[in-house]
Structures are given as structure tokens and as C-alpha cells.
């Protein structure tokens, strides 16, 4: 069976033009997708059935037993952590937040280790952004800052920016200027019209300098700022000010480096400054597929996009305190439910140690790094392949992913709903 306009469940681009050929319960070919999409759809490394570890032996268990065990572990915990959520759909995320409020748990999503700092910056200064089509149809200057879309978002440039022809930009490749700012040369910086090669940890200073230049204070800028020559900074500032429509896309190069969210705050304030002269927008390159959806769902239910602590009944939010890395590093939580993500691969060792120490349950289709740290894993269908639901693109556009075939796996939504019902019964209405 050939299915058109399929939505890719890999990165935040949420490309929705894939053509997928399905035979039975196998995807046999993917057209239009990037390498990552191809791997995602054709991967065949699913965990077969729920598994449970007793000391040093793993053995299969039934779904019912796995669900019951999970509910009991969560009910017994004094400070449970519910982490992950980016690889699943909004409907499952919504159950997750309700489960957290019922349990008095901390719920956090993978923003913690990607664009959490971007959210914190937005909470200080806002976010002048737009949907990706605005960029495609209008932008004549594109800035990638601390981002390497060729490796992380392979079709970003062809669908939305550098190579994407739009209504007002008919010949994108010739009409668009690309500026790249990074601490290392990358495939992306190689195609830039202007590459600012910044010393590690120097982004904040460079952004401050650009802001000062845009404010007409170029004279006080020293001849080099974190490895970037003043002449280049002035040139870049002028390119931006003379743009008809400029768009900055930034990645983890800003969120994870020294200063963290203050880097992004500085970039947002640069964007706001540029709007006095022309139209400029800024957007985070959200990585993990539906991570933006988890921010949205968490927000409308709890008021906060990530790192929400329901311990005192009310919602409390304070990154650095209620974020997963910090809670695990300090050894606070006494049980952890991981859904649709892999902290084992992406958290520092200290955090992994604590996950191994406490009862950790993983709900994920695949054997991943966290599996080895868990006490129980429940395999589920993959949203966008054998289960469907809502996902939010990196620019906030919600799209409904499709179920390409019916498999034998339950969806995470079904599993979570059952856990929720057991907890609800125990806790009372």
C-alpha cells in the first residue's frame, strides 16, 4: 500500500510530504524523506514484549502485570519523576500531566536537555517568531546560529530556507543570503555567505556586540570579540539591517554553551532591536520531533512548558531546581517513569547512576540505552507509524500524524490511560 503525505516522526521539521510504501506491518520504502526519516520508518528493532528485571535477570511479563507494577511503584513514591514525552503524541502527553498532578510528581520533558534554556529566555523577553512558511515565502537573509541543520534537521534548508522557493523569493538559492555563527566549521557553515567563527563560550559577547552595533555604538567594540573581527560584525549587522525579511534559527550551540539561556535572551533582544529597522524573526531549531508539543500540552494544563513540580499539589516551576538533571543529580526522586525518550543516552553519568538506583520504568518501543538502567520496560507502538496523534512542528503548527498500519502493540496512550485509571482509583476522585 502506498500512502502519500505521510508525516515524519523524527525531528521538529515534521515534514509532511513523505510517500511511504507499506506491506503488512512493514515499511518497505520511503520517498522524499531524509536519511533520518528512512531509518525511523524502516527500523525493525522493536522490543517484543514487556520485560522486567529482577536483580541480574531479565524476563518477559504481561502488559497487565507491567501496568499494575508501574502504577504501584508510582503510588508508593514520595517524589516520582515523569520524564520524556517528546517522542509521543499530545494525547498521551496530556494523560501524563494529569497523572503527574494526581501523583504529586515532577513532570519534565526533553526540553530540559535541548531548548529549555530557549523557553527560559522567552519567559524573560518574549519571542518574535513566525511559522516556517513566512520564512520560505519572504526571507532574504537567513541566520543559523549554533545550529547545524544539515546534520540535525536535514531538510530544513530545502523545505523552509536556503533552497526553498517562495512567493516573494522565486529563486531562493540566488536571492537569499545565509549567515552562520558557530564555534566550529560544519557542513552548514561551508555554504554560508558569511561565517562567524566564534570561540567556544563566546556567543554572548558576540551577540552583545551586534546589539551595540545595531544601536549605533560600533565605535566602542574592540577589534576582536571572541575571535570575530569587528569588521565582520559590522558587516553582519548591516546585512541584517538591510534585509527585507530576516530569520534567525538557533540551535543547541546557544542553549548548551556557557551562559545558557542568557545567550538566547541576547539573541532575542538582537532580533527585537532589528525590528526597529526591518522585519526580523527568531526561531529555535526544535530537535526531538514532538518536543514542542509537550511544551504546549504541559502549558495549557499546568501553566508551565517543562519542569513542573506538583509535590505541593499546585504547579511549581523553576528550571535548575525542578528540572530532571538537577533532581537526578541531587538524588531526590525515588521512582522514575520514562516515556518516549532516552535519558540513559542523553543525561550525564551521575544522573544515570541515580536512575539505576531507583525503580525506573521505561515506556518506549525500542531497546535503548535507558533499557539497561530500567527495572521494567513496556514496548508500545510508534506514533506516526503504527499509532496516531497530534504533534507540534518546531514553529508551533500542529499536525496529526498517521497510523500507517495496525500493529500488535498498544499505543502509549492506552498504556498510560490504564496506569492513570489505577492511580485514580487508589487516590480517589
Amino acid at each position: 500500500m502506498r500512502i502519500e503525505d505521510v508525516i515524519c516522526p523524527f525531528c521538529g521539521c515534521l515534514c509532511d510530504d513523505l510517500v511511504v510504501e507499506v506491506q503488512g506491518t512493514t515499511v518497505v520504502s520511503v520517498e522524499n524523506g531524509c536519511t533520518l526519516a528512512h531509518e525511523k520508518f524502516t527500523g525493525d528493532n522493536r522490543l517484543q514484549a514487556p520485560i522486567k528485571r529482577d536483580g541480574r535477570t531479565w524476563h518477559p511479563v504481561s502488559y497487565d502485570e507491567a501496568i499494575e507494577t508501574t502504577a504501584q511503584i508510582l503510588l508508593e513514591a514520595d517524589r516520582p519523576l515523569l520524564y520524556g514525552w517528546s517522542g509521543t503524541n499530545g494525547e498521551a502527553q496530556s494523560i501524563g500531566v494529569h497523572l503527574a498532578e494526581l501523583l504529586g510528581a515532577v513532570i519534565d520533558n526533553t526540553s530540559t536537555v535541548c531548548h529549555g534554556p530557549s523557553i527560559m529566555a522567552i519567559q524573560e523577553v518574549g519571542h518574535p517568531g513566525c511559522t516556517l512558511g513566512q520564512v520560505k515565502n519572504r526571507a532574504d537573509v537567513i541566520v543559523y546560529w549554533g545550529a547545524n541543520p544539515i546534520e540535525a534537521h536535514p531538510r530544513h534548508m530545502s523545505r523552509y530556507t536556503t533552497y526553498a522557493d517562495g512567493f516573494f523569493v522565486k529563486g531562493a538559492f540566488l536571492e537569499r543570503k545565509v549567515i552562520v555563527a558557530d564555534v566550529r566549521e560544519t557542513e552548514t557553515s561551508n555554504i554560508a555567505d558569511e561565517f562567524m567563527h566564534i570561540e567556544p563560550g563566546g556567543d554572548y559577547a558576540v551577540l552583545s556586540a551586534l546589539r551595540a552595533i545595531v544601536r549605533g555604538k560600533a565605535d566602542i567594540i574592540p577589534s576582536y570579540v571572541s575571535g570575530v573581527a569587528r569588521e565582520q560584525l559590522v558587516r553582519v549587522a548591516e546585512m541584517c539591517m538591510n534585509a527585507k525579511f530576516g530569520a534567525i534559527f538557533f540551535g543547541l550551540g546557544l542553549t548548551m554553551s556557557r551562559g545558557k539561556y542568557k545567550n538566547i535572551r541576547n539573541a532575542v533582544e538582537l532580533t527585537e532591536e532589528l525590528n526597529r529597522f526591518t522585519k526580523f524573526t527568531i526561531s529555535p531549531m526544535r530537535g526531538h520531533w514532538n518536543v514542542y508539543g509537550s511544551n504546549e500540552v504541559f502549558t495549557w494544563i499546568s501553566g508551565y512548558p517543562f519542569a513542573v513540580d506538583f509535590a505541593r499539589g499546585i504547579a511549581f516551576y523553576n528550571p535548575g531546581e525542578t528540572t530532571s538533571i538537577d533532581i537526578l543529580r541531587r538524588g531526590e526522586c525515588d521512582a522514575c517513569l520514562v516515556v518516549a525518550s532516552d535519558p540513559g543516552a542523553h543525561f550525564p553519568k551521575q544522573c544515570c547512576r541515580h536512575l539505576a538506583e531507583i525503580p525506573t520504568i521505561l515506556i518506549d518501543p525500542h531497546v535503548n540505552v535507558t533499557t539497561h538502567l530500567s527495572h521494567l520496560q513496556i514496548p508500545v507502538a510508534v506514533t506516526g507509524i503504527d499509532s496516531e496523534g497530534t504533534a507540534y512542528r518546531m514553529d508551533g503548527v500542529p499536525i496529526r500524524t498517521r497510523m500507517l498500519y495496525k500493529s500488535r502493540y498498544p499505543s502509549d496512550r492506552e498504556i498510560l490511560e490504564k496506569i492513570y485509571q489505577i492511580v485514580l482509583k487508589e487516590k480517589g476522585p
Binding site: P128, E296, W300
Partner: protein, 566 residues
Amino acid sequence: MSELLIRNACVIDPLNGINGEIMDISIRDGRIVEEVSGNAQVIDAAGCLTLPGGVDSHTHVCGTKVNFGRYMSPEDMRAGRTARNGCMHVTSGYSVPTTFGNSYRYSNMGYTTLLEGAMAPLEARHTHEEFTATPHQDMMANTLFDGNWAIMEAVRDKDVRRTAAVVAWYLKAARGFAIKLTNPGGTEAWGWGEDVSGIHDTVPNFEVTPAEIIGTMIRANEVLRLPHSVHLHCNNLGVPGNYQTTLDTIGLVPDLNKTRQSLYLTHVQFHSYGGTTWRDIDSKSEEICKAVNNTPQVTIDMGQIMFGRTTTMTADGPMEFKLYMLHRNKWSNHDVELETGSGIIPVYYFRKSMVNCVMWAIGLELALLTKNPWQCLLSTDNPNGAPFVKYPEIIALLMSKKLRDQECALLEPRTEHHVPLFAIDRELDWNEIAIMTRSAQAKALGIRDIGKGHLAPGAEADVAIYPLKTSEIDPSTQYQQVIAGFSRTKFTIKRGRVVSRNGEVIVDGANSTIWVKPKVPEEYNLSNDPDFVRKFQEYYTVRMSNYPVQDVYLPRGVCIETEADL
């Protein structure tokens, strides 16, 4: 079968001409009926003021921009936090509460039906997701067309029929309720960082004017026989001297519909400014109300501001940027490809600020100077003018000259010379308040026929019983009781079920989403139109097949089908 009998209610039901009659209301299976059996559950209203459930015809409670208001404002979430309690979910937030926070607070005030003021079709799915998490109110969404490329092309070609066909396609795709125009043409210009300055400016690259967009859309709206009229946020919001734009706009409106207005102008307070700068701004409410009084085919809502902290959010991107340049706090902007834009900034309205005082006065003046209460509805453009929890205070201000005088004494002293409010003696009565908070809203939205805004047999059993004995309270002096009474119902009944009681939410709730599907002949179905399809696939970043909102997002959808006159 479930039956409920409300005894000894003091009913005001303006759509049925009932004004303060003590009577019983019978409810069976969610509808008002003539009578119920002896097995019915009985509620004794004990002579308390009993109204149809409140209808808010312009509020921002769900969707991309509202949620971004929450997302960017942890400082707002600090206020209003409540823990999970019984069937009540956790709530947070003051000016942009969480969905459950909105729903419970509206419910406590007796509101049962809400119109979300602005939904970009591309992001409609988000609005509908939040609707399902707003359990106590039936929801509808105004659908944004102000910068829609296909609309502007049809308007440029002076093709009302094609305009109607575009509206029909998008309304159905977005599961929307009505046409919303926010600063028509201005949001497209904002795509380049520009704006339009009046209804006769030309929109860059599209060779149309706001006046042409508004005029054509009003006609297309009637061609499609939509229940509601065009819902317009005029150009030049918040600009001194903008009343002229508003008057010009009112001057455009033909009288095309016998059952309701032909144009709904929203938050008119923000559009009634005289003067040329913030220094000499003054109220032009008298001019605006004169035009409204002379133009029965328009209906307005107040857009009242109240002093204190709130968050402004609108599809009017350029206006928010201007506001940001004044406040320098934080600013979010979100342009939506081929359709519209939006902006959000937090604001604080100060009594010390003459401008804010003038704004405050204008809202009240609009309500007091519009002769016919069916033409001026109570709103704050929640949360732009103030969070909706301020409605009871606004009601009290409209009912009491004494309270207004007290408040006026606290205003920035120059205000008196810039507004007529001080000299206005009118005090609205209970019936007029009922009209302005539910009946006229239901009529303006065109949902009376599906049983909203009134209590005659056949109507939806949405009832608000307030702890107010109208015979014992003099609102012109006992305004504190009025505020307390409208803040917290004794009972809020939604579709025949008591959902909240004395401020406590007692059931989980299950709302409906009301949407409109105009039926157009096959030749006007744009899914088959090669030009429309080609442009869609070339310029949108979402494939056409993935664009429409699926039925699964409206688990309790109520579809109003219309037969287009095409």
C-alpha cells in the same frame, strides 16, 4: 432520562420578554421543557436572579497565541494557583490561566458558552485541542481571514462568490464558527514589518484595501448565510485619532440581515480615540455611539479595560509591536503564513496614567451611550482589557453612578477634561445587564436557534442562578453585593447538569464545539480548484491533505450547516 426542576427562580430572559418573573424552570435531558415529572431533582432558587447561561462573544481562552501567553509568563502563573481537588484539575494563572482555570472561573461566574476571538486556520487543531480541555463551556472559534492570500486575491478580483467559496473552504477545514478580520490587510503588511494606516490604504503586493476586504467579506458572509456576521477588529487599534477609521468603517456597513447585525465590531474601546498623540488623546465615545445608534446593522462590544496587570494578545501583530515599543517589557510575535499574524505583550494599566484612565472611561461610555443594549455587549476582550474575572466589577460600574463617581475621583486628574463619563448619569438595570452578558450575545452570534441565550422550552438548559435577590438590592448603592453576586453563582447548570455550586466545581464536564459548515455547490468547492490547489501546495508548508482539522478533534462537535446562496 434526567430531570431537574428549578423552583422559585427570579427569571430574566430578555429574548423571551421575561423580566423578573418568579417561576419554575423544568429541564429534561439537557433541554428546557414545559414540565417534568415528580421524580425530578429539585433545586430551590429561592427568588434568586436566574439567567440563561452567560455567553462571551469575544474572549481569548484557547489556541496558539493564548497558550504562548501562558508559556512566556511564569510570573503570571504564580497567581491563582490551586491544587487538584476532587474532580477539579490543578489551575494556574491570573491573566492567562490554564484551560481548566479559565473554564472553572467562567463557570463560577455563570458562563456556559464562549467564542474564542481568533483562530488561525493553519493552527486550528491547537485551538480545538484546548477546547476539549475547557470542559464547562460550549466553545466556538472565530476564524482569521484578515491576511488570507486567497481571500485578498478574490477581493482584488471583486469576486464575492469566490470570496465566499474561500471562506467556506477554510471554515470547514478549520472547524471554525465565523469570519474574523483583525486589522484586515495590516497583518499581511506586517509580514514586511509594515502596517496600514486607514481603510483606504493599499495592502503591499495585493492591491486591495481594508475597506474592500471588509465590504466583500460582509457580502460573502451573507451569501454563505452564516449564523454570525463578520467579526471585525478595526484597523488602527490603539492609535490616537483612530475613531475616524472606526467611523469610516461603520459607514461601510450595508444592512443585509434581518435577524442580526451585518457587522460586529469588537473591543471598540480601543478604537474610539481622538487626539493626535498620547498627550492629547481624548474620548470619542459620543461620536462612535452616535454612529452605532444610527446604524442598527452594527453591534459592538466594549473592550473595557480595568486597572492592574494583564496580558494583551491579538492577531494584530503590528499593534503589539508598537505597544512593545512603549512598554519595553517583553514581546512575542507569531506571523502565520498566508493567513494572519499575532502578538503578545504583558501590560499594566495604571490609574496614574491619563491614557489608561481615558481608555477606562471610554469602555463604560460606550455601554452607557449606546441606547440599545442589544447593540453593545459587555466584554474586556479578555484578557486584553482585563481578565474576565473583572466582569462583575464592570457590571457594578454600569449599574451604579455612585460607584463610578468614587472611581472617577481616583483617576489621573486631567482625565475629566478628556472624557464625557463624569457627566453621564445613566444606570443600567438588571434586564439590560442580562441582555449585554448573554441574550444579545447569543443573538449577535446567531446561536439563539440552537438554544443558546434564552430559557424557553427547547433551549439548551444552560442556567446561571446568582445569589442576588433583585427585589431587595439597590444596585446603585449596594454595588458590593452586585459584584459578589455576579462573581459566584449559587448554581451553574450546563446542559441540565449542575457543574458548579457556590464557587465549587462539582463535575468534570463535557463541552461541545459549535462550528459552521456552509454547503457550496460543487463548482465552488476549492478542493477541486486547480489554481487554489497549486498555490496551496507551493506556498504553504503543510500539505493540503494534512491541513483540515479531523473530526477526532471535536469529540462533541455541533455542526451548523448552512445552504450557501451561490
